[in-house]
């Protein structure tokens, strides 16, 4: 079977229309590169090879999923696991959809022919990912609620807004290189190992073998995507005129992806996994800090690229992210499509062992809950203008809330990292209306209706529900 990529030679410069009309400069505005035609594609995929490799992978995955469903794999899972999947799957799948569409634009409009070719295959890979995530969701949907209206919740529920808002913006970027830095570098190189290797380890431990198989096969596609990210950033940084722009995108997207991944995904190993693997902050250190920061960032230092601007803040927040996220959602349990639960003694012991500051920062909250205080809130929280997460980090009692004034209105951010981005691009982000502002003034019944929550959905898992 041939492994040559022949289609690289099929690029031509038009003569019946303007080059700028066919490849508008908007797609790479501000980026300097001498000869786009000489850009090298590291992977050199071709159709024959792609179909062969991918067909084999699909055969390796779907039978496992079928068997899991046929033999009711869910009955062996602690009940809380599926509740976590209700939050995380729509999140992931929304990101994959945006990635698919973003890469079609790169495939069409990137100025370098080799980059366009690489983007074709990434674009179709993302179709595989969102469709396989949907197969997973369909399996869960046979046995539990909280999955069947995922599209409506994606569009209307505060819990999924961060994924939608941030990833849509990534897709809407005018410069394809911004999308590549955001996706290929910041999502795929930095965070996908955490999501698609870390989470399956936890899933397998908790009986979700279908998820483990699905996520590992998803990750097998990521190597190609990571290669695009790494080679793109290296190639662009050879021209020092690009450094400032690349640094800004790197700072921006590391922060935004950290934001939308660390809180939501962090709850999975710490809370929604009954059988624990390692604390989320350990996972993050292993897969994100050690892997990426010590590896790639050090490599890119030779080009002048600095580590992400708000990396230290990200590290400093780690001991609390999953806990603050979980506590906050617990307070909104009357307005969710999944069920929350009170952490058990085993959970609390795991937290005390894995997080030295847990008791000091979060202990009182759970003591109050165990003493009978439901902590229910009747109104949506302030959500960050940039990342759409509730402004509760690092801890709700003392959040790093900060403000910018633009066009006569105050805009709030959960962190310096988010404010930094807004202050750089206020026009781009000044039109967003956060969900708490959009749904201001509604009572719980009305909020539930607007967010698509029928009676009986959400609420709490009790201790004797085999949580």
């Amino acid at each position: 079977m041939t492994t040559t990529n022949r289609t690289r030679q099929l690029y031509w410069k038009p003569s019946y229309v303007d080059l700028d009309a066919m490849y508008p400069p908007l797609a790479s505005a501000g980026i300097h590169f001498d000869d786009w035609d000489s850009w090298d594609d590291p992977f050199r995929m071709n159709y024959r090879q792609y179909i062969d490799v991918q067909a084999k992978k699909e055969v390796g995955f779907h039978p496992v999923r079928d068997a899991f469903e046929r033999y009711d794999g869910m009955q062996h899972m602690p009940r809380r696991w599926a509740e976590g999947m209700k939050l995380v799957f729509p999140f992931l799948q929304t990101a994959e959809v945006a990635a698919n569409r973003a890469h079609s634009r790169t495939a069409r409009y990137a100025p370098a022919p080799a980059l366009r070719t690489a983007a074709f295959y990434q674009s179709i890979d993302e179709v595989r990912h969102f469709q396989n995530h949907l197969f997973e969701m369909r399996t869960y949907n046979q046995k539990t609620d909280g999955f069947d209206n995922w599209a409506f919740w994606r569009d209307n529920h505060f819990a999924i807004a961060p994924a939608k808002v941030v990833m849509e913006d990534m897709m809407a970027s005018d410069n394809v290189f911004e999308s590549i830095i955001a996706l290929n570098l910041c999502v795929e190189v930095v965070f996908t190992n955490l999501i698609f290797i870390g989470i399956p380890s936890v899933g397998a431990l908790n009986g979700d073998t279908a998820l483990a198989q699905e996520m590992l096969t998803t990750q097998s596609d990521e190597t190609r995507h990571m290669a695009i990210g790494q080679s793109t950033v290296r190639t662009l940084l050879r021209d020092e005129r690009n450094l400032e722009q690349i640094q800004y995108w790197f700072d921006k997207w590391f922060w935004l992806i950290h934001r939308i991944v660390a809180g939501p995904v962090g709850m999975i190993p710490d809370y929604f996994a009954k059988r624990k693997y390692i604390p989320f902050q350990e996972m993050y250190k292993r897969y994100v800090i050690d892997n990426f920061i010590s590896g790639m960032v050090d490599d890119l230092a030779e080009f002048g690229l600095k580590p992400p601007r708000h990396l230290e803040q990200a590290k400093a927040e780690l001991p609390d992210m999953s806990h603050s996220m979980y506590r906050t959602l617990f307070q909104y349990k009357t307005m969710l499509f999944n069920r929350m639960f009170v952490p058990t003694d085993e959970d609390l012991e795991f937290f005390d062992n894995g997080y030295p500051t847990f008791t000091a920062n979060h202990g009182k909250f759970w003591d109050d809950v165990r003493a009978g205080d439901r902590k229910d809130l009747a109104q949506l929280p302030m959500t960050c203008q940039m990342c759409a997460l509730p402004c509760v980090f690092p801890v709700p009692e003392a959040p790093t809330v900060c403000c910018s004034v633009y066009e006569g209105k105050a805009f709030w951010f959960c962190s310096d990292g988010c404010k930094f981005i807004f202050d750089h691009e206020p026009y781009r982000y000044g039109n967003r209306v956060t969900i708490d502002r959009k749904l201001n003034g509604l009572d719980v019944r009305q909020l539930r209706m607007r967010m698509g929550l029928p009676k009986g959905i959400g609420g709490v898992l009790k201790a004797d529900d085999d949580i």
């Binding site: 009692e397 403000c403 105050a410 502002r437």
Partner: protein
């Protein structure tokens, strides 16, 4: 000083402000309120704590988040020149409380 009842009745006639409130040291996240512009800061402080499900140790003070300025309890909200969506932070001024620290 107008009564609480008077405050509530006034609500029916005047366009509300959009102001976030948070209480230092409380687990409730900042919440958006729709106070009546003719409310005093003192009244806002009371209603704010109720909305946040918190009762800070008295005395409770209000601060404008944008510039950190302490707000006069008798000041009328609409005369403060607050921009839409500004935030007022409530803090206990009682000695030795967590929430008294900034």
């Amino acid at each position: 000083m107008t009564s609480e009842r008077g405050m509530i009745e006034a609500a029916a006639e005047v366009e509300p402000l959009l102001i976030y409130v948070r209480a230092n040291g409380a687990s409730t996240p900042p919440l958006l309120m729709n106070p009546v512009p003719t409310w005093t800061v003192r009244f806002f402080t009371k209603v704010g704590q109720q909305s946040l499900y918190v009762q800070l140790p008295a005395p409770v003070e209000a601060y404008r988040s944008l510039d950190g300025a302490r707000l006069d309890p008798d000041a009328i909200l609409r005369e403060l020149g607050l921009l839409p969506y500004e935030m007022i932070e409530l803090r206990s001024a009682a000695p030795n409380t967590d929430s008294s620290r900034a």
